[in-house]
Every structure is written in C-alpha cells, then in structure tokens.
Symmetry: C2
Subunit: 216 residues, 2 copies
Amino acid sequence: MRLRNKPWVKDEMRTFDNLLEEPETYKGRWAEWFHNDHPIQIELGTGKGNFITTLAEKNPDLNYLGVEVREEVLVYAVRKAKQKNLENISFLWFNVEKIEQCFNPGEVSRIYLNFSDPWPKSRHAKRRLTHASFLEKYKQILLPGKEIHMKTDNEKLFEFSLNELSHAGFQLKNITLDLHQSDYMEAREVMTEYEQKFVERGMKIYRLEAAWMGDK
Amino acid sequence: MRLRNKPWVKDEMRTFDNLLEEPETYKGRWAEWFHNDHPIQIELGTGKGNFITTLAEKNPDLNYLGVEVREEVLVYAVRKAKQKNLENISFLWFNVEKIEQCFNPGEVSRIYLNFSDPWPKSRHAKRRLTHASFLEKYKQILLPGKEIHMKTDNEKLFEFSLNELSHAGFQLKNITLDLHQSDYMEAREVMTEYEQKFVERGMKIYRLEAAWMGDK
C-alpha cells in the first residue's frame, strides 16, 4: 500500500518523539537533543531508513540523523528506529536544500548520500545532491577532515559527483566502481532497501568517500 | 606478422632520426632537440603511435614525445611519423620507469597515459603507470597546474588510478565512465589503435584528467 496522500500518516508521524519537524531550533544544540556530545552523522534522503538505523544499531557511541522530506517513506524509518528502541537516532522531516540551517559549522562529522535521485536531465543538474551548490552547504556544516560517503547505482550521477567533489576541493578516496565485487567489506555490509534489490539483480553499485580538506 | 625478436627491427629503428635511444642526454635541452621552445607533451607507452602522431599533426605548435620500450610496436610509430613528415614529434626508446631522468622539473606540459597495462594482480600493482611511485616521478617533471590525461578500457585500473591520483594530490576533472557516450568531443576524436577496436565492439572507455597542483 502506498502511503502518499494518506493524511493519517502525518498524524502518526507526529506521535513519535524521535522526529523533528523544526530541526533548525536545535542548530548548535544537538548535544542537548541527544543528551550527549557524541559525533553526529547524517544521511540526506534517508528514505525508509534501513541504512541509517542499521548503522545506529552497530554504533551506539555515534549519533545519527536521517533527513527526509517525503513523509510517505520517512514514516517507515521512524517506526523502525522506534521498534528497535534506538536512542542514538532521530529524523528530520525537512528539505535537504536548507540543511545548512540545522547545524553550526563543524557540528556534523559525516554525511551519507545513498542512492540520491540522479535527476538525469541537464536542466535539473542543480537538484542533484552533489551539485556544487549543495557541496557549499555541506562545507558549512562539516568539520574539516571529515567526509561525505556516497553510494549510487547510477553511473551518470557517480561521474557527475566525482567531478563536482574534486572541483570543490574534496579529496576522494576508496572509490569503487563495483562495490559488491570489492574488498570494502564494511561498506558492503550496511545496505539500503534499494541497494539490496539492485545487488540481488547483479547490478553494479558505485561508491566513494570524499574528505573536506578545509579552505586553503 | 609479429615483429618480436626480429633483429632487423632494431637495425631499421636506428636509421630514423626521430628516435632517441639515450634521451637522458637531452634532459633540460629539449628546446635544442626540437629547435624551438614549444610546450612538450609526452605519451607513456606509446605503442604503435596512432594517438600521438594524430595529435602532432593537429597541433603543429606543440612538441610531442612518445615513450615506448618495446621496439616491435615502436617501429610502427616511428615509421608513421616519418611518412607524415612530422617535425614536432620524436620517440624515446626507453623504459617509463626512468622517465624522470629525461626531463628537468617543469619541462613537460602534459602526460598522456592511454590503455596502459592494467597489471591485474595485486602483487604487480607497483608496475601500473598510475601507482603512487610513478606519480611521484611525474610530479618531478610536470609544471604545476599541468595535467595527466588518461584513458583505459579497464575498470579496475581506472578505479585504482582515481584513488592513487586523488591521494597524491592531483585534482581530478572531466572524468567520464563512458567516453564515447559523453560530450567530450575532442577527447573522442583522437583514438589509439586499441581504442578503435574497443569502440567498434561497443566497449566502454574510461577517461580522466588530473591536474598537478604543486606541493602545498
């Protein structure tokens, strides 16, 4: 059953205490929200949340925030984290375009971009989450030396992202053009919902890490 | 007919005045060899020379040097350049491993690596022409701001090269995972012998440019 345009989804969402509708109010105060000062990793476009809830389970000493604007998928992520009683994860019901409004400089220790919309048409390039204009926002919230980790099945988006990240001064590493035939065991373990389907079909997954080296 | 182990190949080679067997003697004096001070671009592993002779024909205001240690292919390149009466190209019958002995710092304005041997086994990684140890040699001879242009059909070599180049401080750009479906018209035009065959078979060609930004 698709949940789009089901008004009760929004009502259900609002019963969860791990969901923030106005996350800007915690800018600079995320340690208060989590009741600790552990590093914060965020996933932009969290979808149904399999990836980030799995990470949160594996790493209780890190805090996680999943950002997603579409309530019809986000509700699954929120439920999942609740069912697992995870204390170190919350969700921002929020548009990634305004992400820099939610964090102080250096407040984010890692950004995950998983299977972002490729926006294949050139005139939509600005909407891709690795477009230069988004990278400028990420630089504002990432601590220098910290990283963006990206996975996608889309060759063109990956190619675009390699170029945009390199141009913006990120240092690329651990690039693989076929993750599930690679030696990156840890990165292979934690999969998104999309990724599980793609891998079952034998499709290739591209992955990179990009370290923000700070302004020269 | 294969030319390997044909002693007359070496004899024929030595009749050409566009071939250098001891190129170290021109280190720092390439302007003397070419009778001008035009920028010098080099191709490492020139093979039968289609790529670099095509470039030399197109760009009379640049000088070209093709480096190749295997005389059984190099002889074709040397003949080709002679038949076309190209004055702005010569060949180094020389091992790429010692390339830094042939040029002063900054004497090379661009390095081309086309369809280099992928050396697929891990224990042979050091032989790949984009291994960190080779990149250190290239840094010694490239002017800062100048570039390495690389093409290959081998996914694993390309992946390796992206990582090595980024780690070594080169800034990557114009990366494509499918050159002949891309908008890089100029890079598509000049093809190596291998490339022509691969493209006819519909195989993908990977390409990148990597600018050496100089020591920080």
